[in-house]
Amino acid sequence: MHELSLCQAILGTVDARAAGRPVRRVDVRIGHLRQVVPDSLQFSWQMLTEGTEYGDCELVVEHVPAVVHCAACDVDTTLDWPILACAACEGFDVELRSGEELQIASIDIAQEVR
């Protein structure tokens, strides 16, 4: 439901970085533990950019899995359940390594030829 807000925030940052240069592609990284629906993000992006100078700008979403490191096993395991526990030993002495990303990774700016 907040995907539209996220897209507005993405556009704000992209617009500031681009400083008027044409942007062809925006890469964002969204962690598994974030409640972002990729289709909804794309829909919001289209809605916001249509008819603007970002109309041809592609939004590429990288899904980042939720990975925890277990102190007992000394291994990294991937979560598919929201409980922060080691998938190997089911212990709770874990540290979150990834999965909370909500990041604009990069923007592709068209080259200007003089």
């Binding site: 907040h2 807000s5 592609r25 100078e53 359940w81 990774a105």
Partner: protein, 264 residues
């Protein structure tokens, strides 16, 4: 990172180039927004590596600084619609009484119904309707809270409740400058909710389990819920209350007073 080139056949490669990033370059951009003058040979990938919520977080920090400057301790109160936030707040304002100076920043998609409910209980109230955007935002963000704060006498408030929009998903993602996040959960919502909405349950410093007066009439398994909550968030303080009867509201009020006193 090198300079990326995309060719007509679709291949992309990059050259190691010491200044691939145009950031900081002193280009002059005429015809901003009109790119017909460009002849494209490819694109330059510019690393941004910035949180999508960085602007929100920057304003949340400003809110927090303003609150701290005035000695205000703020708690962001979140729940699904109908879990009993406003009823609990009424009880809480009465329960805290004159012991601290109270404020409420009331977030609602539309109407002043909740703000009206809270009038006359000794708290300064500021209403923020979130419907200014596309048909109503589903959460309070730092900008909306900043606007609401500007209409509150912060110098006359010790403890501020920020009543968020009823929603179990979106409010958890947006920091607004609060010192603590509280979640109101009603036993009518089902035991599995911490597993289905882990972001909010994980974000909460305190969970108020409301409507316990209804327990005799429900199949709700309180222990199973508490187990699920503990699995998702082992650190949250938990209070069992009935905002309707007032049962259990005193310990919750004491927790608020203690948290405020610790921060002061």
């Amino acid at each position: 990172m090198g300079r990326f080139h995309r060719h007509a056949d679709g291949t992309v490669h990059d050259h190691d180039h010491p200044h691939d990033d145009h950031e900081g370059h002193d280009h002059e951009h005429r015809d901003v927004g009109d790119h017909r003058g460009y002849t494209e040979t490819g694109v330059a990938r510019v690393a941004v590596l910035e949180s999508i919520l960085s602007e929100n977080d920057r304003i949340a920090d400003a809110n927090q600084a303003d609150l701290a400057e005035h000695g205000v301790w703020a708690v962001n109160v979140m729940s699904s619609p109908g879990a009993g936030k406003t009823t609990l707040l009424k009880r809480t304002l009465v329960g805290l009484g004159e012991r601290v100076r109270l404020g409420v920043l009331e977030g609602d998609i539309a109407t002043s119904l909740d703000a009206d409910e809270l009038q006359g209980l000794g708290a300064a109230i500021s209403l923020v309707n979130t419907s200014a955007g596309f048909g109503g935002e589903c959460h309070l963000d730092a900008v909306m809270v900043r606007s609401g704060l500007s209409r509150l006498p912060l110098g006359d408030i010790d403890l501020l409740f920020i009543e968020n929009v009823g929603n179990l998903v979106c409010p958890a993602e947006f920091n607004v400058g609060e010192q603590a996040k509280a979640m109101v959960y009603a036993v009518t919502e089902g035991e599995e909710k911490p597993l289905k909405y882990p972001v909010m349950f994980r974000a909460a410093d305190v969970v108020v389990v409301n409507k316990i007066d209804l327990l005799p009439h429900l199949d709700f398994d309180l222990d199973q819920f508490l187990g699920n909550l503990h699995d998702v968030n082992p650190h949250a303080a938990v209070f069992q209350v009935s905002a309707r009867t007032g049962e259990g509201v005193d310990p919750w009020c004491r927790w608020l007073l203690d948290a405020h006193a610790r921060a002061a």
